[in-house]
């Protein structure tokens, strides 16, 4: 799935809706492309964490790709860079 624009308290419910729909269908591998996301706060992280946990419940996986520097910093500050698989781009994520 592809997310575009800033992800904050206002916009994160839309991202959540898309991820939860994929989870409802028990999608085995979800790759969240963040190339078009210039900003993300903890509301966005919460959506990704929730997705990761729920994917794990049915044996699926959730990874992120194309993370910009300032969004990567939020992952690093919260040490979520150690929790999520972060790929350079979607192609690299699909190749694995």
């Amino acid at each position: 799935m592809h997310i575009e624009g800033e992800v904050d308290m206002f916009s994160s419910p839309q991202a959540r809706q898309v991820i939860m729909e994929l989870i409802r269908k028990k999608t085995p591998k979800i790759i969240v492309e963040l190339e078009g996301v210039p900003y993300m706060d903890s509301s966005g992280l919460a959506v990704l964490i929730e997705g990761l946990r729920q994917c794990g419940e049915y044996g699926g996986s959730l990874a992120v790709a194309g993370v910009r520097d300032n969004v990567r910093e939020v992952f690093e500050l919260t040490r979520l860079d150690r929790v999520f698989k972060i790929y350079q781009n979607v192609e690299a994520a699909l190749a694995e």
């Binding site: 800033e6 308290m9 206002f10 706060d41 992280l45 919460a46 959506v47 910093e73 939020v74």
Partner: protein, 140 residues
């Protein structure tokens, strides 16, 4: 000399983006580089999000005031709301090894700012003070 800028917004999540732009301008004016500006903006975003979520219980028409004080040494933000007073003792960041949604906002605020202090009103309202030291040699 201290310079003060006050930003006022209502507690509508749709306005957070405009708030971030305004705070970024203040930070740049205070001499912070782009990276630190991004981190300060994140801290302010998290603080406003907490006000909307916890003090105003998602009501989107309530007052949030952000006073930005640029002193020769520090950039100080004072956030005021008229919402439900917080139990200051309960404001904590969650341990990072607990992988669950939520609870990261306070952690992010604390990791970005040099000093953070919460003050809850007796009947209503909260005040949050956040200080960050300005880069050496900043003008203004």
């Amino acid at each position: 000399m201290t310079k003060t800028i006050e930003l006022r917004l209502i507690s509508d999540p749709a306005l957070l983006s405009a708030m971030r732009t305004a705070v970024a301008n203040v930070c740049e004016w205070a001499g912070f580089d782009q990276r630190t500006t991004g981190r300060i903006v994140l801290a302010l975003d998290e603080a406003c999000t907490n006000i909307i979520k916890h003090a105003y219980k998602m009501q989107n028409d309530q007052r949030i005031s952000i006073i930005c004080r640029i002193t020769p040494r520090n950039l100080v933000f004072i956030l005021e709301d008229d919402g439900e007073p917080a139990d200051v003792k309960k404001i904590k960041s969650r341990p990072l090894n607990e992988i669950r949604p939520g609870g990261l906002g306070v952690y992010l605020i604390n990791s970005v700012m040099d000093k953070v202090r919460y003050k809850a009103g007796k009947v209503k309202g909260n005040r949050l003070y956040m200080h960050i030291r300005r880069p050496k040699g900043s003008a203004g």
